[in-house]
Amino acid sequence: MIGTGILKGMAVTLRNFAGSYFEKDRLITVQYPEERNPLPENYRNFPILIYDTDDAEAGLRCVACKICEKECPPQCIYIIKSDDKKPDYMGKPQFYPKVFDIDISVCMSCQICVEVCPFEAIKMDKDFELSKRERFDALLFRKEELSKSNEYYHRIHPVEAAAVDANLAEAAAAAEAKKKAAAAAAAAAAKPTPATSNATTTSAPGSTSAPAKAPPESSSPTASKQ
């Protein structure tokens, strides 16, 4: 009979309408500004720079190696490397970014900068309410706006941040052990030879070469994580 198909369809809509009063999974609308769904752990939005300690300037993990700038597909990162070095959170002298800008209006949140960073310095933020009233450079984030503390990172990505901290601690311990071994080896090498000024100069490169090897060490746990 013509019309039964339509009536059957109407029965479905009626069931959905009535069900919305009783069944929770039929009532799925979230009244956004007042109600919010929790964001998943892996949610990503735009990149941020992580710093350790309380000092956003001194504790910045970024060493201005420019890998992310090179790998960024839409080329939204702009870095100027510093001329001088300053000690990072581990006490090693490192370059730092004099300028670090990310044009958020160009960024496509692909996470490739996070994957290529060997220093765990750039991570993805979860803040998505970024509308601005200015028309021009309000969405060009400078280093000051991008810098976020490690505590903030722990707050937004608790599982990932804990893994990163464990990796960094492991790398620091390995670097420390290597440094000690190198110092011991240098001391052992220095002992048989007479204690002249020559021996102190040979031990000096040995102790500085250990921190120089640290970056590849710290990058290997990251690679295996991905």
Binding site: I2, P40, P73, Q226
Partner: protein, 371 residues
């Protein structure tokens, strides 16, 4: 039939801002009364140089751009691109990663086909209800994608030689729950539309595509199978782990819009079967080949064509490598663009109102048509 655009034929420009053209698609239609006598598709409004960008970006750098091709199915786009790069460089993929890829591709097929049915119904004038029911289901699958990859639609999940993020047991459990409940939605949706007299009147014998024309025009995917041609790349190529799963290929008989609609409804049931098997078989293990470098990835000199059965049809990437960090040539074979080439043949002799339904049954996304 007159081919002149003179007093006898009325030329109407439909689109690019027409709500039923699925984006910025435009058709110049020549009408005799209400009957379509000539139809000229105009596109390129969303052209953004995807292939040229791909030739200037690194191999990995093109991966997030492939999300933006067919933004409904970013997971399958990722897979097609990863597959062609893996072919080019001879990369092995771990078993768990292959299972995850199958699971995500079939979930993508479910949400693409569900939203296809919703859009097609709203093209017929059923504004709101079917589309909202379809999007309610789609949203559950997008929530899965979001909690796995970090983004609902721009997933950027696959990597050469595997996947980016591990899917934990909790995620797999949620996926299983959604897959188990999906047939319930299908039953409800089929009851809502498939016996509806208006749907039948609007779709049966509208926009018939013969098997000969479908093969000659290079049509692929559900549109080809609706015309009765048994060709599914999951069966033909057996890429991924598809040969391990038991599933059937639904085939149409008439090649009209109703068959194309039914094809999606039936394919979703088969996808649910594949998903159930894959979720039961998946074993713990590595998800990415550790030999593949993320930085400074340079495949050997050569060329490769990787293709998969995307939800819309055969999606392929053709890459030529000159040994450098960027592909020498990067070419996309987009299913919805090639399926659109027969639009005029389908629409001739039908009314203007049918043009929208026929266009809806082709299942296009302008991000992929224009690239």
């Amino acid at each position: 039939m007159s081919s002149r655009f003179d007093g006898e034929l009325l030329e109407v420009s439909m689109g690019p801002q027409h709500p039923s053209t699925h984006g910025v698609f435009r058709m110049n239609v020549a009408l005799e009364g209400e009957i379509v006598r000539k139809l000229k598709p105009v596109f390129g409004y969303l052209h953004r140089n995807h292939e040229k960008i791909g030739e200037n970006a690194s191999y990995l750098g093109s991966m997030p751009y492939t999300d933006r091709l067919d933004y409904f199915c970013s997971m399958t786009n990722n897979w097609a691109y990863a597959l062609s790069v893996e072919k080019l460089a001879g990369i092995e993929v771990p078993e768990r990663a292959e299972y995850l890829r199958v699971i995500l591709a079939e979930l993508t097929r479910l949400q693409n086909h569900a939203s296809f049915l919703g859009f097609l119904l709203s093209d017929m004038g059923a504004w709101g209800t079917p589309l909202m029911y379809a999007f309610r289901e789609r949203e559950k699958i997008l929530d899965l994608f979001e909690s796995l990859s970090g983004s609902r639609m721009m997933c950027d999940y696959m990597r050469f030689g595997g996947c980016r993020v591990e899917a934990d047991a909790d995620w797999l459990g949620r996926a299983k729950k959604i897959v188990d409940l999906f047939p319930k939605f299908l039953d409800e949706f089929e009851q809502l539309i498939l016996q509806n007299e208006i749907v039948i009147a609007r779709t049966q014998n509208v926009g018939k595509l013969s098997a000969d024309l479908a093969i000659n025009a290079g049509i692929s995917g559900p549109m080809l199978r609706a015309s009765g041609v048994n060709y599914d790349i999951r069966k033909v190529d057996g890429y991924g782990f598809y040969p391990r799963f038991k599933f059937r290929i639904p085939l149409g008989d008439h090649g009209d819009t109703y068959d194309r609609l039914m094809m999606r409804a039936l394919e979703m049931r088969e996808s649910v079967e594949i998903l159930k098997q894959a979720l039961a078989q998946i074993q713990p293990g590595p998800i990415v080949n550790p030999k593949v470098k993320i930085r400074a990835f340079r495949p050997p000199i050569g060329e490769a064509y990787g293709r998969i059965e995307g939800p819309k049809g055969e999606l392929g990437f053709y890459l030529i490598s000159d040994g450098g960090p960027n592909p020498y040539r990067y070419r996309v074979r987009p299913p919805s663009f090639i399926n659109l080439t027969v639009l005029e043949d389908l629409c001739l002799g039908h009314t203007v109102a049918d043009v929208m339904v026929i266009l809806g049954s082709v299942d296009i996304v302008m991000g992929e048509v224009d690239r």
